[in-house]
């Protein structure tokens, strides 16, 4: 089914950017400027808002003319593209965004045509849905687990691997005793927060065939 893969939703939005000749810098440049300052770490808007596995915001200027025999075509507008893979249903997700990161949404989408703002949630959700395209490919690395489940599983995996390494060759009774204790500690550990490994992004592979 389009847009859904198990419990994961794939959202693609194309929102037309305001074309105001008097705006300086132009609205697309203002969006670019804002996006370039966003972090990918735990302070990323998509880490603060719940449920996002992976999200990407792109300013699409135009289609690129690649020469003959393609015919030269242009978009009617510049677009802001949002691609997001998240848990649950679209309405809940959009309301979640509007509730947790309204200032980011308004700062970015405020440069788009017809954006009603995030304070009226019903209008906001309707606007986003009006800009939605059908999504048929989801991010491959997202399996059918929620963000929270995935983070908890990784945390458990790391902790168990550490426990195994620490207890290798130990007496069975001690392993059992420590494991019961370990499970209590593991249960009590707060789940880790979503974030991308925020390394500098200027990696150049140089591989022209890639």
């Amino acid at each position: 089914m389009a847009n859904k893969n198990g419990s994961i939703y794939g959202l693609t939005l194309l929102c037309p950017i305001l074309n105001d000749e008097n705006a300086s810098p132009s609205h697309d440049l203002q969006i670019r400027e804002y996006l370039s300052e966003l972090t990918a770490d735990s302070q990323s808007p998509f880490a603060v808002a719940p449920g996002t596995h992976l999200a990407r915001l792109v300013v699409m200027d135009d289609v690129v003319y690649v020469g003959m025999p393609a015919c030269e075509e242009h978009l009617k507008s510049k677009y802001l593209v949002l691609e997001s893979n998240f848990d649950g249903d679209l309405d809940d997700y959009l309301v979640g965004l509007a509730t947790t990161i309204p200032e980011h949404l308004d700062a970015i989408w405020g440069h788009c045509n017809g954006y009603p703002g995030s304070s009226d949630k019903a209008k906001f959700v309707q606007y986003m849905k009006d800009c939605q395209l059908e999504t048929t490919f989801l991010f491959a690395a997202v399996n059918d687990k929620t963000v929270t489940q995935t983070l908890a599983a990784l945390q458990t995996q790391r902790a168990v691997a550490h426990f195994v390494a620490e207890h290798q060759g130990a007496d069975s009774a001690k392993i059992q005793r420590d494991f019961i204790e370990f499970l209590k500690i593991l249960d009590a550990i707060p789940p880790s927060k979503p974030a991308m490994n925020a390394q500098p992004r200027n990696i150049k592979t140089g591989g022209r065939n890639e």
């Binding site: 995996q157 691997a161 140089g206 591989g207 022209r208 065939n209």
Partner: protein
Amino acid sequence: MSKLNPADLQGFVLRGYNMPFARYCFLHFESPKRTRELLGRLLSMVTTGQLWDEKPKSAVSIAFTFQGLAALHLPLATLNTFPVEFQEGMKARGRILGDTGVNSAEHWDDLWREGSVHAWLGINGRSLEDVTTQFEAISTLMTETGGARCLGIQDAASLFEDGAFNAKEHFGYTDGFGNPDYVDICRKAQNGQGKLDKDGNWTPLATGELLLGYADEAGELPVAPVPHLLASNGTFMVYRKLHQNVGTFRAFLNKWSSLYGAGDDLAKEKLASKFIGRWRNGTPIESSPDAPDPDILQRPDKSTNFKYGSDPTGARCPLGAHIRRVHPRDSFGFDGRLINRRRISRRGLPYGHLAAAEDPSTPEEAAQWDAVDRGVIFMALNANLARQFEFVQQQWIAYGNDAHLGNEKDLLMGSHGEGEKFVVQGDANASNPPFVCSSLPNFVELRGGDYFFVPSITAIGMIAKELVDPR
């Protein structure tokens, strides 16, 4: 399909010479005119890929860094067409390659820190005397022409043990099994060395995975400099001087093998085999998981002919074993097609003296062993440094996601920080237990190296005669 002309290739691109001695000389050019004269006179000494009736006493090869080609004043329109990673050189690619910590450039030998190496000149020989004779002849030529100054030399040699040369490296593993077969490269094809077809049979890789100017596995010509004639029949070489901490390795193996299985000598050898994926005599553990098998080793067809498809959990060969990481064969499914563009050909030899058979008895002694100058000269050939060598190094040595191992690095080759581990998956069998080695030290340390362009015989002649014309 283009027909291969072995007479136009440098011989060592086609095959490892299997000569026990080598000297690698690192040259610096000072005058393009005099260097061209030197190259013109060297040309007849460079060993080509033609089959020989009688094996020569020595063989000569040459390759250039980007700085070297620039120092030769190749036209800018040609220089700019070399791939970016080659133009940048290996030092600048350190972050991509995971050459961090003790492997970072500040710890390299002086020779490699300065970026003044313009060319690599390799002499392989049947004896040390054969190597030095050839070296003296070339040194004379360099002096006569004033075409190059030798900044340093690196001697390398097969290890000599029990009265014979062998194919081992300093940790005791028999090395050098994994070179791919390519279409038309004159070696006899060997099962396990090429790529898998959809029926599960092995066939040679496209020539363009090794040589510029030939179609590669995508059916395209590899990215190559212009003019075509300069690039064709050439390739790119990675040179890495890898210091081996033999004291650390021996102590690590002793420490962990005492806790592994029965903790006896067989358990020690078995754990050592799990690190690499081969018993130390070279037997692949995928084919012979319980003991080394001399019969497999004596049959080239068997020593490389195996797959991992029936061992998805790593019970026989751990998912993180070195040879499974760097040549995953069918591990990733899709009949092995995901790895066909990530293969490299290895050349190179150990350097330094063989360590004593008895292990160091104290940590201090182990540290003294580590300080001894020995290791392997890793040389790899491929048509595309970024797609082949760098990918293998970045994704399969310095990272573990493709092997379902998260952030884990290759045990022996990885640049380890704190808290890293190596997992032997094992099974329910008492002699093959699951096992974790933690607190990984750095077994291997990079001491320098660079990326080189290995031109064809024609291309060396073009450079020597100043005939490189990009138009």
